[in-house]
Subunit: 327 residues, 2 copies
Amino acid sequence: MTHALDLDQIYAFAVGLGRRAGELLLARAEQRISGTAEAVLEKDSAVDIVTQTDEDVESFIRNAIQAQYPTHKFLGEETYAKGQSRDYLIDDQPTWVVDPLDGTVNYTHLFPMFCVSIGFVVEQKPVIGVIYSPFQDQLFSSCTGRGAWLNERRRLPLLQKPSIPPMPAHAPSQCVFACEWGKDRRDHPDGNLYRKIDSFLNMAVERGGREGKGGMVHGVRSLGSATLDLAYTAMGSFDIWWEGGCWEWDVCAGIAILLEAGGLVTTANPPEDINAPIEDFKLGSRLYLAIRPAGPSSTETARESQERTVREVWRRVRNLTYERPGC
Amino acid sequence: MTHALDLDQIYAFAVGLGRRAGELLLARAEQRISGTAEAVLEKDSAVDIVTQTDEDVESFIRNAIQAQYPTHKFLGEETYAKGQSRDYLIDDQPTWVVDPLDGTVNYTHLFPMFCVSIGFVVEQKPVIGVIYSPFQDQLFSSCTGRGAWLNERRRLPLLQKPSIPPMPAHAPSQCVFACEWGKDRRDHPDGNLYRKIDSFLNMAVERGGREGKGGMVHGVRSLGSATLDLAYTAMGSFDIWWEGGCWEWDVCAGIAILLEAGGLVTTANPPEDINAPIEDFKLGSRLYLAIRPAGPSSTETARESQERTVREVWRRVRNLTYERPGC
C-alpha cells in the first residue's frame, strides 16, 4: 500500500495542517485572554469553551483531510469519544489518527504545554507525525526515511554531533524520567494511581533503596501531555517515558516522530520473562514505554543500551490495568 | 532607601541583563548541539560544561551589575555555593539575588524548561524580578507598581478580562498543582521524599479518599525548575506551587513577579494553628507555598479565596525538614 502513496506530498500537507490547527487553538486561547470569547463571560465556562474548541479543531482537521484525501480513513479523539464502541479501529488502510488538543487541562489553565497531534498510519505503522504546540511555537514532525525535526530545521535528537549519546551506563540513574499522574485517582492500593506512584518512587529513590529497586533518576517530569512527553523524548530531553491510560490519538504522532528519531517504544507492563526479546509497542494497547534515541558505546550497540534501559525500568514498575476490548 | 533608587532605570537594566544572560545560556546550548563545544568531545562531560556555563553566566551578570551599580550587593548561587557559610546573607541594603541557570538538570538534558533568574531586593522585599527562558523565548518580568509581564506585552495573570477568576470553590479540586521531587532521595519514611510523596498523593487522590485528605487536583505538574513554577503561577497557569529545599536565588525573582501579579506566598509547612493569620513568606526559609493571582467572587474577596486555598493545602501536606542556620 505504501508504494502507492506520495508520502512527501502527504507529509507537507500534514505539516501545514498541524500548523493551521495549532494556530486555531491559539486564536481561541487569545480570545479568552482578550476577554472576547463569548462564553467566557459566563461563570465556570472555561471547560465548555475548551470542549467546543476541541470539537471545532477536530472538524477543521477532518474536513481538510477529507477534501484532500477522500479515500483515507480518519480517527479523531472527539469523534471516537462520541461513539459507542471502545474497539481499536485502525486496520491496514491509510488512516489519520488525530488528537485536536492534547494537554486539555493545560489548555484550560493556559499552561503552554498543549498541542495538536496528527499521525498518519499505513499498514498499522505510524509513518508520519506532526505535533504543533502553538503557544511555544514548537513544531515536531517526521516522515519515515526523512528524519525527525523541530521547527523543520533542528534534526532530532538535538544532540547528535559528534554522535548521539548512549544511554547512561547505570540507567535509570542519570536519566530524566517523564510520567503522568492521569485521571484514575481512586484511593485504592491496587488502583492505577498507587501502581504509578510506587513505580515513580522506585525510579526516584537512591540506588539500593526500595529493596534494591531504587533507580535514582536525574529528574522526574510531569507535563500533562502524553504527546509532548513523546516529542521531548524524541528530542533527547527526556530519556524515559512510561505511561498507561492514553489512547492511540494521544501517542500516534509522537511515536512516529520518536521512532524516526531513533527511539524505542514497547509496553509499559513488564512481561513475565523480562529477558525475553522485547516486543514492539501495540498502538492501541494503552500501555507504553519509550526510550530516547541513543548512540552506541564502546561496549554496546545503541539498541542494546536502549533494551537494557527498558529492562531496568520494567524491574522497577508495577503492572498497570488499563484495558480495552480485544487488546 | 527605596526612594533614593531609580527603579524604572534599574528595571530596564535588569530586563536587558536577563535577556543577554539567557542568550548566553542558549549560545552555550547551541554549541553543544552543533558539536562545537570543546568539552563535549570528552566522555560524560555534559555536567562539566553545564557547571562552566553556570559560572560564566553568573560572572557575566555580576560584572554587569558591579559596573552599573557598584554600591549594590550581589548574591549569586555559584558564589554562595563556593562559600563556607550557609547563613542567610540578605540585609536591608539593595541586593541582587541571582540564579544564572535554574533548571540545571533540564539544561543538561536540553529540556527547554531552564532559565536565568534575576531578583532585586530592597529592605528585604523583592521589588524587581526578571526570568528569561531562552529556548522558549519567554521573558517574565515585574517591578513593584508597574505590573507583571510576559515578553513585556502580555500582562500577568493571562486571564483578567473581564476579571481574574477566583480560586475554585472546592480548591484544591479543579486546581493545577505544581511540585518537584527534589534532590533528597533518601529511602526513609521520614525523609523529605516520602513527606513530599504523601503530600502529592493527598492532593491528587479523589475527594473523600486518604482519610478525607483527598484533594482531587485537576493536574500534577513537575517541570524541574522552581523559578519557572513560580513564573507559571504568576501567569495563572498553575494554581498552587508547594515546595521545600530551594534557596533564595531560586525563588527571589519568581516571588517578585508573582506578588506583583497578585499572588500570595507563604510557608510550605502548616503552622500549629492553621486558622491563625497567614504569615508572609520568608525569603531564606527554603519552604514556600504560592497561590496564583485570584479575583473576588460573590462571596469572597480575592485574598480570602487565596487564604482558603492555603489552608486547604496545609490540611493535606506534611512538614518538610529543610533547615539552615538562623531560620
